[in-house]
Symmetry: C2
Subunit: 340 residues, 2 copies
Amino acid sequence: MAMKAAGTDRPATIHDIAAICGVAASTVSRALSTPERVNIRTRARIEAVATELNYIPNIQAKALSSGRTGAVGVLVPDITNPFYFDLIRGTQLQLKAAGYTQLLVDTEESDEVEASSMEQLRKGADGIIVTASRLSDEALLSAAAKIPIVAINRDVPGVPAVVIDTPSATSQALDHLISLGHSRIAYVAGPVTSQSSTLRWDALAAAAEERGVDVRRLGPFAPKTQSGAAAADAAVHSGVTACIAFNDLIAIGMLQRLRERGIRVPEDMSVVGCDDIFGADFCNPPLTTMASPIEQAGRVAVSMLLAQLNPRGGGGTRNRSLMPTHLTVRGSTGMAPRAC
Amino acid sequence: MAMKAAGTDRPATIHDIAAICGVAASTVSRALSTPERVNIRTRARIEAVATELNYIPNIQAKALSSGRTGAVGVLVPDITNPFYFDLIRGTQLQLKAAGYTQLLVDTEESDEVEASSMEQLRKGADGIIVTASRLSDEALLSAAAKIPIVAINRDVPGVPAVVIDTPSATSQALDHLISLGHSRIAYVAGPVTSQSSTLRWDALAAAAEERGVDVRRLGPFAPKTQSGAAAADAAVHSGVTACIAFNDLIAIGMLQRLRERGIRVPEDMSVVGCDDIFGADFCNPPLTTMASPIEQAGRVAVSMLLAQLNPRGGGGTRNRSLMPTHLTVRGSTGMAPRAC
DNA sequence: ACGCGCTTGGCAACCGGTTGTCAGATGCAT
DNA sequence: ATGCATCTGACAACCGGTTGCCAAGCGCGT
């Protein structure tokens, strides 16, 4: 039985199995994918030989003939942004559990790279999960017509989405700052193409007006720690006593810059971040930030996508999911200077 | 010309192009992949039609018929470990530049997952880059016989590798600590299956003996910040005044724990990390650590792999590359308590 | 005018599976 | 014994390219 392995060293195919079992290749295919379609005895023989030959189906061939690739593309604007680590891990685990392969693509914060990646993936994947898409509504919508898509942190009617509810957490942050005596507050904006940043600002501006405090907008800034220096300087210059940053990267960068300039946090300036990324808890001072279950967001996105790919009987497919967000208070926020 | 787009909405194939141009499919294939094999005029026609039809070759089919998938697997033990961010970015950029696709796989620090991923990738990729492999020498060697492999931070004779020279940086760190007056030093070890950790310890122990100082080994510890607490406690209990940690994650975790316990860094205890990951510069205090060009390591690994895949005329293929490492001194190391 | 070699394009097999269709075998009722 | 439905497996087409081989067409030297 075991001696036949000596022959060819290349991976076994269904034809090898078929030859050994004395059946047709199609029978082997069915035995493996549609077991009930084949007599239990032949099936047993085939399965035995398959395991003995250490048979591994060729994914390429499978994809070519069946049209299903068993892969899902995950597009992120910047792999090195810690925010995406947990998200990626979430999608990776959930996809693996469902027997899918994850194709991770870094779109380099560019709408063009994003669009071409999608076009590429149209044949190379069964579906796409796109985070913080830089595409226009129309472009995203037309892409979604060609291949199943779930968007994360991008809300376009007609495109299933997982949205992390930072806008509402923004109000929490605002109340937190107000209760500490701050009345001159800045929103440190992210990229203009980021819908998240826009929505957050809208929510913040509305809440600020409601509460009668002065919130101004600074930026835009790139979502990197390096941008934090410029953001910090802008904040200082604007005379505010507290900032709500687009994300933790910028906030941490601001922390560094403020320290360099001898401006104490939180005594002279309070800083609130967003995302609660790796590092937010051990920077100096630890960052008050808006936290949310990022990994879970990834899992939910995968579930929604798989529901689209394999429509179940129970037609109730949710096409929008809101992830809760809460404020995590750490050391970077404190009483307003005047109030002391 | 443009009206034909109205017909089928599915992606164009070479057959569509062939039909329109009145040539055979094989000619189209050659025009696109072996341009010199085809008359310049027919080629021009074909290319024009191809762009007009927005033709995108089907990767699956290409892979199936040619045997080359155009993909490279990149295996990392833990996607959420910041050390790998820059590495992944390095491989991603270099692979994309060479027209390859990156398949990123999280092996969950498990040798079994790693082995099965490799087997899977044997058909799904042209080559594999494996970081910090948990596999045995034999297993890695036999895998390398089946598919081109480049290892990162894993040195097995016969397997091309990019090695980050942390062992030699370890001596620098030791001298740094000695010059600050430390004489009782601990090495906070990583996982037992990590070759890097072993090599680092060997180098450190040798250097310590040479210099006549006492260096003991603590651990092993998992390479996560959470392990830092146990590591910090072990270090305190062992009575050392300085630690060299397996990596920055552990070191940062130690910093947090030491702070909780009211032990000042660096006054009471000095801590040296390794890798200079995201966060090492803004933790509290900023971490003295051994830095190296990680992203470049990823690029080099890709270059070595591609050289294997497409053997050039100049046969001199390097199969081992050593990345330089240097000590970056920040705030987590200082004079030994006794010496003050 | 002939033979030669080079260029250029077509034919067909093949990569490794999937799937529609059909025929032989089997079992059961009539 | 005949008819009919059911089960089982084989055949072959197909997915979308690649590639070895062959032949027609061409220019050129003799």
